[in-house]
Symmetry: none
Subunit: 416 residues, 2 copies
């Protein structure tokens, strides 16, 4: 089956000057991907005649379907419509249905229509008019030499309505589309290249219809498996078989699948096991509590936290012994152990977690340089600790500490 | 003066499948705009040899500077490096400095280097090696026929560091750039349209060489003044004169300028006034403490925090009276008052801050719908409280609570 290739062209100076984030292209990509249409390129150009025409020419040479957003307002800097007329070599003429629709749009809202707005109902003679029920700029559909074009407004909810009502249902009638299935296997606690080493043989032996991608992010690596074929159920089975095959090699790093995050995975683990947690965050300063409480329903397993930024409060609130603090310092295995047990007792939780470290950029010593972080997890009959040696800036060190603490908790729930 | 034209090429299937939002291109656009470099096109292509080479060819025909992100990992699906070698027609050879750097990177982290990682130090012979201090994939700089190319990893913080340390300082040495001065006046606690009403006359009377933009973000509105001209000192003076003119109308909303954030501004205020704070965060769940402790040096004014997610701990740790909790509920003016004074006492701080509310999406009632949040600030001889009625999703409600608490603290420090 021929792959159907799509391109997205976003038009507007404001997208190039960094004043607006183009969320349209991302949304369109996702929707086309689900349909099995392959987006091969996204292009953003400004309100410039030459640049826009060059983008049209270039896209036509490659794509089966070209989706254009933006540049359809009634003002002079909006060039998409006249340039599409020029590109397709046909005049702009009054489209009575489009003029009626824009007139009705204003009437319905009790507003006077301006001559500029009436002109929005004038369209290139060679396009098919596609009504925009939620705005004033019509959609325009073109066909030439087997390539299909759709021009839509840049306003996200107008574009989405035209895509959902018109373009997405139309595509399967124009092209035989393959079936594509994505699965995401999410890992934590292992770097991309180590993971690649662990699964190299499996990766090299993947069947032709399944592709693998590594998607690294801070402290995490996601493995994306993409399967192609004719039969959705069969592809899903094929992918699951590959996951089952690789899982024994990487099981201890896998925290979840698809849209799960480390926070939601831990929430599920705690809920399933009917366990609760409490945190004593020193260097992570509330970040881990914030991650956990960002999840709706976390109040059923999150008891609370203390952020004791000074030794005095580690002692007074968490019962860390003053001699521990003076002998070993705040950033030490001994201190995080006592913080973890102290906060576990204070909040009467199943697991007590703690962090203490030097996030930077100041406060490091030869013995304990910036990035030295101790973390701990205390539970019934055990206390686990771990030392991290981080090398990033303050914010990233805090975030990496968060990932490490959540991962330590995950391991403790699973193994204890 | 010739306009300097830049293009951005983002490489990676994950950007086309809609699984990752490309925040890099937006960030790069903004930075180049500040320098006076005009971004004329952004292109996203997948991990496909032909598509990537076509994007290179097309960009070279138009741009003075081409910035490439992504496709630099050590795994097989990463094509940028071999394709740049092919495009510039030069072999990939061992770069001793780059091999040393990647070896050092692993050594510093106490981890073994893999053969795959060593290969990251092999680079096209015709590029200039640009060290990446925060990752393993080096930056690569190319020049040909007056066009400059920079290839960077797609990991945002690695790309940003290479841009900030290398590319952005280099551009003014390569091209004559116009003189542009930006100043940012940062406000909090007033919406965009109210602010616009307050300063309309001033805005309409701005001189021709100074442009104003409103940049709203969550709970904040930034006013960006952009001045153009030939003489930097004079433009700076002109902008300052306009700020001095508008300030009396908006002074109580202005917390800072340029790169200052609400957190750094508050840190400065507390340090100057030699005051300390402590927080009792219920619905904000650690978010505000995280904001405050993200600032290096915050340990001099941040005493600590308690996140008492259940009433029992509001009582046991913060001494909120059980009768207050049972009569008025956790989300009430009475409770946040006692939380604020309780945490102030516990941490022996000058200001005690508190939040309690229903972040959503569940937990609302008719009387206290989702988004009902009470906040408080207690100090020597006073307790201020404020009720918020938020309407966003859970995460945004938490973030808006954070802005409101920090702004309440700002006002208390200034007025008490």
């Amino acid at each position: 089956m021929k792959v159907v290739r799509a391109e997205i062209i976003a038009i507007g100076d404001e997208l190039l000057y960094g004043q607006i984030v183009d969320t349209n292209s991302h949304w369109i990509s996702k929707e086309l991907d689900l349909l099995g249409v392959k987006v091969v390129r996204k292009t953003t150009v400004g309100d410039d005649r030459k640049d826009i025409l060059a983008a049209f020419t270039s896209a036509e040479s490659r794509a089966d379907i070209i989706l254009i957003t933006g540049g359809l307002g009634p003002t002079q800097d909006d060039l998409t419509k006249p340039l599409m007329a020029e590109y397709f070599n046909c005049p702009i003429v009054e489209n009575p249905a489009a003029v009626d629709a824009v007139t009705e749009f204003f009437k319905k809202r009790g507003r006077d229509i301006t001559p500029l707005n009436i002109l929005q109902g004038h369209l290139p003679a060679c396009c098919t008019y596609v009504p925009n029920e939620v705005g004033t700029a019509p959609g325009m559909w073109f066909e030439r030499n087997g390539t299909y074009w759709m021009s839509m407004p840049g306003v996200p909810h107008e574009m989405k309505k035209l895509m959902t009502d018109f373009v997405l249902p139309k595509l399967p009638t124009l092209f035989p589309l393959p079936i594509i299935v994505h699965r995401m296997v999410k890992t934590v606690g292992i770097g991309e290249s180590w993971l690649a080493d662990l699964i190299r043989e499996w990766e090299n032996a993947l069947p032709k219809n399944i592709r693998l991608a590594y998607l690294p992010s801070l402290g995490h690596v996601k493995l994306r498996l993409t399967g192609f074929g004719q039969d959705k159920i069969q592809i899903e089975k094929d992918i699951q078989a590959q996951i089952d095959l690789v899982l024994p090699s990487i099981e201890k790093y896998v925290y979840g699948y698809d849209s799960e995050t480390l926070e939601t995975a831990i929430g599920k683990l705690l809920t399933t096991n009917n366990k609760t947690i409490a945190l004593a965050e020193s260097c992570s300063g509330g970040y881990i509590s914030h991650l956990i409480t960002s999840i709706s329903g976390s109040s059923s397993y999150f008891q609370g936290a203390v952020i004791p930024y000074h030794n005095q409060f580690k002692n007074e609130i968490l019962q860390v012994k003053n001699e521990t603090l003076s002998s070993f310092g705040a950033v030490s295995e001994e201190t995080v152990r006592e913080m973890a047990t102290g906060v576990r007792d204070l909040f009467n939780a199943d697991f007590g977690l703690s962090s203490s470290g030097i996030a930077g950029p100041n406060g490091g010593t030869d013995e304990k340089p910036v990035g030295t972080v101790w973390i701990s997890c205390a539970g019934e009959g055990f206390i686990e600790t771990k030392k991290l040696q981080l090398t990033q800036d303050r914010m990233l060190n805090i975030q990496l500490t968060g990932v490490a603490v959540l991962n330590l908790l995950r391991i403790c729930i699973l193994e204890k």
